[in-house]
């Protein structure tokens, strides 16, 4: 089945081609390079919206598919397609790639190299979200790690060598553990294929043995869990974000971190339902440590990026909690949460980056009273803080409340603790706002300039608008996610029914 009319590969190809094109542009033509990068990510954004609006919730599970055989003997083919979850994740990534390219204005050193790496990073993440072949999926995943290392190492801030090394090693470690699991799947199926659709078909007809699932599932769950900063494998995350340049922090906290959970949903739940049933309740305990530990640790931080870094560790706990419910509401809520949190976390990092570019400090005690000079940035930050602490009106509230409703049935104690987590979240976020933006104006910061004009305000305003639109009208995304999670849960039930 060779379908050649799919637009899906262009999500990967456009950034890659732009990256190759920048290679031949002279490095002094900085503004041309920027325009190419922004233009390419804008095109992928348009494509992402196209997929969002042309996805048929009632149609087949994977749409816009394309399959090109590659290494037949190993059963490897380039097979791409999007289900409802993929559409949402692609949209998230496209939004953040575009805004990330916009805020990369502040990069002054080696601009050409920076954008080459940036576009490779963007392309490879699109590759992960669209691949339906485990080989390509893993290939794209590893490909995304390659640009990360130099990007943090060269354009990062404090402690960047240590942080980039740590982040890369950690993520590779997680990836290697998961690779063992993936290879085990390949061999255990006996199908000689890496194709996800074929594998899940097989899992329904002839499920993997319970014994196999029991040891294979944790490899994948914890391997991917490292990427999603599951406690206690989270320590790369705050340090890595603090050192990374703004756009990398945005993409990493916003999208890359979600890959872990995305892959657990895509691979573990349909293929290894028994394993998931056994192991996910354990993550439902760890995730509460994520939530509370991350939140309290965030409260003790003085560096703004560390606050947001620990906050994102804390927030990923909610995604794991929703995941562990293993029902349709929980999965739908988790996907929506990943979208909402991705936008919010990226907004926070973008705003901190804006302040840091001018003040060259992110230490909360050094700042204070910035609201006078930076009214627009302050408003955006207040919005991000309230979105982060689950205020209604923003997408984050909807996703969190859905997670609470679905987890309440299965894990009442965890739910109560998770709700307490949003009290702590509000505490450290409002405290940071109070100490950075409010209070008497500080004469040291009298020279600061607010974001000016449409171009200056666009990245922040756009992210705020996305949070608001999907917060008021969540069904726009939920209706797309729902059929996919329904199919997942149904196929999972079908597999489980085959066991005595």
């Amino acid at each position: 089945m060779l379908t050649s009319h799919s637009l899906l590969p262009y999500l990967v190809l456009i950034p890659l081609m732009a990256s190759a094109f920048i290679l031949v542009v002279p490095s002094e033509r900085i503004s041309a390079i920027r325009k190419i990068a922004i233009g390419a990510t804008f095109l992928t954004l348009i494509l992402a919206f196209f997929f969002l609006f042309s996805y048929q919730p009632s149609g087949s599970p994977y749409q816009f598919t394309i399959q090109i055989p590659w290494v037949r003997s190993f059963g490897i083919s380039y097979h791409a397609g999007l289900d409802g979850i993929g559409v949402v994740m692609v949209l998230l990534h496209a939004i953040l790639s575009f805004t990330g390219a916009l805020v990369s204005r502040s990069i002054k050193q080696d601009v050409k190299l920076y954008f080459i790496f940036y576009l490779i990073l963007v392309a490879s993440i699109f590759g992960v979200f669209t691949s339906l072949d485990l080989f390509f999926l893993y290939l794209f995943y590893e490909m995304s790690v390659i640009p990360l290392y130099p990007m943090i190492g060269i354009w990062g801030s404090q402690n960047r060598e240590y942080a980039s090394m740590k982040l890369t090693l950690y993520i590779s470690l997680g990836a290697v553990i998961a690779l063992v699991g993936l290879l085990a799947l390949y061999f255990a199926s006996g199908l000689q294929t890496f194709d996800l659709e074929a594998l899940s078909q097989q899992a329904q007809n002839q499920p993997f043995s319970v014994y196999f699932q029991m040891w294979c599932a944790p490899l994948l769950i914890f391997g991917f869990g490292v990427i999603a900063s599951l406690w206690p494998f989270h320590s790369w995350s705050p340090i890595g974000y603090a050192a990374a340049p703004t756009a990398v922090s945005m993409l990493h906290a916003g999208v890359l971190k979600k890959l872990g959970i995305f892959l657990i949903i895509r691979i573990v739940i349909p293929l290894l339902p028994e394993g998931a049933k056994f192991w996910l309740p354990i993550t439902a305990v760890l995730c509460i440590v994520n939530i509370l530990y991350g939140a309290w640790a965030a409260m003790a931080q003085k560096d703004m990026k560390f606050v947001i870094g620990f906050a994102s560790v804390s927030h990923m706990g909610y995604a794991f909690l929703g995941l562990a419910c293993l029902n349709q509401m929980g999965l739908t809520a988790t996907v929506f949460f990943m979208f909402a949190h991705g936008i919010m976390a990226a907004l926070c990092f973008a705003l901190i980056g804006f302040i840091y570019d001018q003040t060259h400090t992110r230490m909360i005690p050094d700042l204070g009273g910035l609201a006078k000079q930076l009214p627009f940035i302050t408003v955006c930050f207040v919005i991000a803080a309230f979105a982060s602490s689950g205020l209604p009106g923003f997408a984050n509230f909807v996703s969190e409340i859905l997670i609470f409703f679905s987890a309440w049935e299965h894990y009442p104690v965890q739910t109560i603790l998770a709700i307490f987590g949003i009290v702590i979240t509000a505490t450290y976020m409002l405290r940071m706002i109070r100490n950075v933006f409010f209070g008497p104006p500080n004469p040291n910061w009298a020279y600061l300039k607010d974001a000016k004009g449409l171009a200056g305000k666009l990245p922040y305003g756009f992210l705020v608008a996305v949070l608001l639109i999907f917060g008021v009208w969540p069904s726009l995304l939920l209706n797309i996610i729902r059929p996919t999670t329904e199919a997942l849960i149904e196929s999972r039930a079908a597999v489980l029914a085959q066991y005595p």
Binding site: A297, Q328, P392, L402, F405, V423, R434, F437, P441
Partner: protein, 621 residues
């Protein structure tokens, strides 16, 4: 008719959306757009209220749209307008219009003029949302939004440390209450039926919960827990003990904000919630009793602190706490109608008191009552309005406060004697602190050097309207809205209670008034033996110190401990040591790679021998 109900909600939202786009040069329009928005909401509300004023007919309007549909959960947005909602809407939009109009002059020269009116409009939108919500989760959504607008408006003068702190404190204190509230919602949701047919809709909740309670005796305890958790939300929003600490600090906001949000409407949202869910609370007598005691205690507790306050706004803030305690107590004693009635009259006279105080603060630029004096001669109209408000707050006949407070006292008299005694003491204390305030503010020698004059009509008109409502509100038939079959009938006047309350009120007001006329020296010597009590009251019964202690010495060290754990155990201990372990093993293993083929071969062959041995003897099977 049903479609225009949405516009009650949307007009303030439209104002909120327009205001940021008004250029700074034409900012005066921002104020007017906000005023027009809430005034239109008021007009539509009047349209809904007319049948009741005219003929005492009861109608309900109900409409909904589906917001989120996921198998197992169905969330709707909708409105449910009954007589209770209409009364509350009249208060919110009516008093709101007066205060918006008042703000036009009060905030005229403020730097954040646009931001202020945007915040007010956002508040009006969220507050109306609470009132017309058709289900509990929607109510919770607007409940949180109200918290946001309160945060923004308290921190309006964000450059002042006190204001920035107060906004944060208000939001976080409310968050603690809402933590319980949300768990309560989840519990009620589970109680409302089997999975798949659960609801949070007010129309269905009552029937499903009553059948739940009847199905097993153990369920009654479950419901009590759920209702008390919901009451946690009320503790925060309506500032009941022990979550009352944010309200006095909230006075850092502009005075019209204090009048509208932190006296007349938002803080009353908790009382409204109790009335809205009253039929559920009735199913749990234990919860109601606890609520009554908390309300009664807050009323007395707050009134004692009002006696020593020097800032006029703080006197009024403690008075608000105390009156809210009355309302909560009335509902706890079994009559939502009485509680709501007092909410209505309180909205009139407390808004009047705050606006009057604001007018004086605006003119004198002082808030300390000991630095005022003699204002009555220079600002007679404002002073008269303030005195009318005082009159109603103490509850003298024929003011509106008389009617509602009398009903509360009569209710306590017949239901719970202990709470009646504490309420009666509160009446005396209320009169005492108000007598003290008016004595210091209006009479005696003036300590103000500035030349004072009355404000313009933009401030005086709202004062006039609210004065009329405070003075004669008892005769306008607001209690008609509360003759709902779901609520208890209000009891008639009780002459014994009336006489006692009037005597206590007069005694309080005279002692308060004349105590501050006897001269500083005499007063000091009289107060000398009570200096310890004064100290306790000034320190707010050490409540703030207690919370400070918990934050500073429990929560913060705990956060620091986790941070330390992260840095030294997880990062240094586990992760970096794992890394050095890898490096170390690498150093040893690299010795294996000698580069000599002989070594490799001998290792390889010994491996083969071991493998054959293992396979041969079945160790691998």
């Amino acid at each position: 008719m049903i479609h225009i109900a949405w516009w009650i909600l949307f007009f303030p939202l439209i104002s909120f959306a327009i205001i940021p786009f008004i250029p700074e040069a034409k900012r005066i329009f921002a104020g007017w757009i906000a005023c027009v928005g809430i005034f239109f909401s008021f007009l539509i509300t009047l349209r809904f209220a007319r049948p009741m004023f005219d003929a005492g007919e009861f109608h309900t309007w109900y409409s909904k749209i589906n917001w989120i549909l996921i198998p197992g959960l169905q969330l709707e947005l909708g409105f449910f307008i009954d007589s209770l909602a209409i009364l509350m809407l009249l208060v919110v939009t009516g008093v709101g219009t007066a205060i918006f109009y008042y703000s036009l002059e009060y905030m005229e020269h403020d730097e954040g003029y646009k931001r202020y009116f945007a915040g007010l409009s956002l508040f009006a939108f969220s507050m109306i949302g609470i009132v017309i919500s058709g289900n509990l989760l929607q109510l919770f959504i607007f409940w949180e939004l109200v918290g946001l607008s309160s945060y923004l408006l308290i921190g309006h003068w964000y450059q002042k440390d006190e204001a920035a702190d107060a906004g944060k404190k208000a939001f976080l204190t409310n968050r603690i209450g809402d933590f319980g509230f949300l768990i309560g919602i989840l519990l009620l949701w589970t109680f409302s039926g089997p999975a798949g047919s659960r609801t949070l809709n007010f129309l269905q909740l009552n029937a499903s919960i009553s059948s739940f309670v009847q199905s097993s005796p153990a369920h009654a305890t479950g419901l009590t827990i759920a209702m008390l958790l919901i009451f946690c939300g009320v503790l925060g929003k309506s500032a009941q003990f022990p979550l009352h600490v944010w309200l006095p600090d909230a006075m850092e906001g502009p005075t019209p904000v204090s009048a509208l949000i932190h006296a007349a409407t938002m803080v009353a949202a908790g009382v409204y919630l109790l009335a809205r869910m009253f039929s559920l609370f009735l199913l749990s007598p234990v919860a109601l009793e606890i609520i009554a005691y908390i309300g009664g205690f807050t009323a007395l507790f707050a009134a004692t602190q009002a006696i020593v306050q020097k800032d006029i706004k703080r006197v009024l803030a403690y008075s608000t706490l105390s009156q809210l305690g009355y309302m909560v107590m009335a509902i706890g004693l079994g009559s939502a109608a009485v509680g709501m009635y007092h909410l209505t009259t309180h909205a009139f006279f407390k808004a009047l008191l705050f606006l009057g105080a604001g007018s004086i603060i605006h003119a004198t630029e002082k808030q300390n009552i000991f630095e005022m004096g003699g204002v009555i001669k220079k600002m007679p109209f404002t002073s008269a309005a303030f005195l009318i408000g005082t009159f109603a707050l103490i509850g003298f006949w024929p003011s509106s406060g008389f009617f509602s407070k009398d009903k509360i006292l009569a209710l306590a008299f017949s239901e719970n004697r202990l709470l009646f005694i504490s309420s009666a003491i509160t009446v005396f204390l209320t009169a005492l602190y108000m007598g003290r305030a008016i004595s210091l503010m209006f009479f005696g020698a003036s300590k103000i050097r500035k030349k004072l004059h009355e404000p313009s009509q933009k401030i005086l008109m709202p004062l006039l309207i609210l004065s009329i409502l405070s003075l004669a509100g008892g005769f306008f038939g607001f209690e008609r809205f509360l003759h709902d079959p779901n609520h208890h009938e209000m009891s008639g006047p009780n002459s014994l209670v009336i006489q006692l309350a009037t005597v206590l009120g007069l005694a309080g007001v005279f002692s308060g008034f004349f105590f501050y006329r006897i001269g500083e020296k005499n007063r000091k010597s009289l107060l000398q033996p009570f200096s310890w009590a004064y100290e306790i009251l000034m320190r707010k019964y050490f409540m703030d110190d207690l919370y400070d202690f918990l934050i500073r010495y429990i929560q913060q060290p705990f956060a620091k401990l986790l941070d330390w754990f992260e840095r030294t155990i997880i990062v240094e201990g586990a992760v970096n040591h794992a890394a050095s372990f890898t490096a170390l093993t690498g150093r040893y293993f690299k010795k294996l790679q000698t580069g000599r083929i002989q070594t490799y071969l001998s290792v390889f062959f010994s491996g083969v021998v071991i493998a054959i041995y293992l396979i041969r003897f079945g160790a691998l099977h």
